[in-house]
């Protein structure tokens, strides 16, 4: 578990380090996700060395974003002023996204 955590935080740090030095417009954690995938593919690290920590983190992923959800209370009035256009735009866009991705794979899958 300790080794797995060290790998996860190591790749996070590596991602942050790269964004810090190269000032690219992508978050360090997303870069870390990409890098750990590449490292696993190239067999630089082994799955069983990171799996204990990654499984636990994914299991509780939804818990971790609760504080941001609670933060919505601070902006409640701003969002409430625009609730109608926001709802229309977000729902319409979500339905379009659902349909486009579903129809492409349904027509072309083997």
């Amino acid at each position: 578990m300790l080794k797995a955590l060290a790998y996860i935080f190591g790749f996070l740090l590596l991602g942050e380090l790269i964004t810090y030095f190269f000032e690219i417009p992508i978050a360090g954690n997303i870069l870390g996700m990409f890098l750990i995938f590449i490292a696993l593919r190239l067999k630089i690290i082994k799955l069983q060395d990171v799996k204990p920590a990654s499984d636990k983190l994914i299991k509780y992923l939804v818990l971790f974003f609760i504080p941001y959800g609670v933060g919505l209370m601070v902006y409640f009035e701003i969002v409430a002023d625009y609730w109608m256009p926001i709802s229309i735009a977000v729902i319409a866009s979500t339905v379009i996204t659902l349909y486009i991705s579903a129809i492409i794979i349904e027509k072309l899958e083997r």
Partner: protein
């Protein structure tokens, strides 16, 4: 008493308890709007309002919880590697479908919000509405939007996809479980993926992978798409 609530342990404790409570309620009553995260957020907000506690005070502890979003995103890379084999035979079509679906999601929400004359900072906060919350939050921070607005709407999008996604897709004539899974992961991230797993195991795997892939695509493209439409990206 206010000083007591400023202790970080208060924010940590209430977050964990509210989430555990939300899960218990969901287990007892299997109804989609009783999403554990939604219940936890509503409970905490009510508690803070009733006892007149500032969000900033709650967040002294909340920060310790949300800190783990960073390593969780890295963990998604491990998940992706593990499940990658299962989509191999459809890989190109899968990637095409997630990319086109994901990009149309960003573009349409930006255009619709612009047409409805919603202020720029809200558009910046909502461009990444379809991707998993931790990634969406990072995209919003880079774009100059407000991460808390992002989190709220992203969770709402997930619940919408979870509750209505398969129904809408079936009405529109989509039959393949793989297609339903891919669409749910692309449009409604982890909360949609939970529903995809209820459709079938394979749908769930495709959904989880679609969530990861769309997270990367959206993270890479959103800054440029926002600049293209809003023209104020620096």
């Amino acid at each position: 008493m206010q000083e007591f609530f400023q202790l970080p342990v208060f924010g940590v404790f209430i977050s964990i308890i509210a989430f555990a409570g939300g899960r218990q309620i969901r287990q007892k009553f299997d109804y989609v709007l009783l999403n554990p995260v939604l219940l936890a957020i509503l409970f905490i907000i009510s508690f803070l309002l009733i006892f007149n506690i500032d969000f900033e005070d709650y967040n002294r502890g909340g920060k310790f919880i949300s800190f783990f979003l960073g390593p969780s995103v890295v963990a998604l890379g491990v998940f992706f590697y593990e499940k990658y084999e299962e989509v191999k035979q459809n890989l190109k079509v899968f990637l095409l479908s997630v990319a086109v679906g994901g990009i149309s999601g960003i573009v349409t929400v930006i255009i619709f919000l612009m047409l409805l004359k919603v202020p720029g900072f809200i558009i910046e906060s909502l461009a990444a509405k379809s991707v998993t919350t931790p990634i969406a939050i990072e995209i919003t921070k880079l774009a100059g939007g407000i991460p808390e607005i992002t989190a709220g709407i992203v969770i709402a999008v997930g619940i919408f996809g979870n509750a209505f996604g398969p129904f809408i897709l079936k009405k529109l004539g989509v039959k393949s479980k793989i297609a339903i899974g891919t669409a749910l992961g692309t449009a409604a991230h982890g909360i949609g993926t939970a529903r995809a797993f209820e459709e079938s195991k394979l749908a769930g795997v495709y959904s989880g992978l679609a969530m990861c892939v769309n997270g990367i695509i959206t993270a890479l493209l959103t800054p440029y798409l926002l600049a293209l439409f809003l023209g104020n990206f620096t």
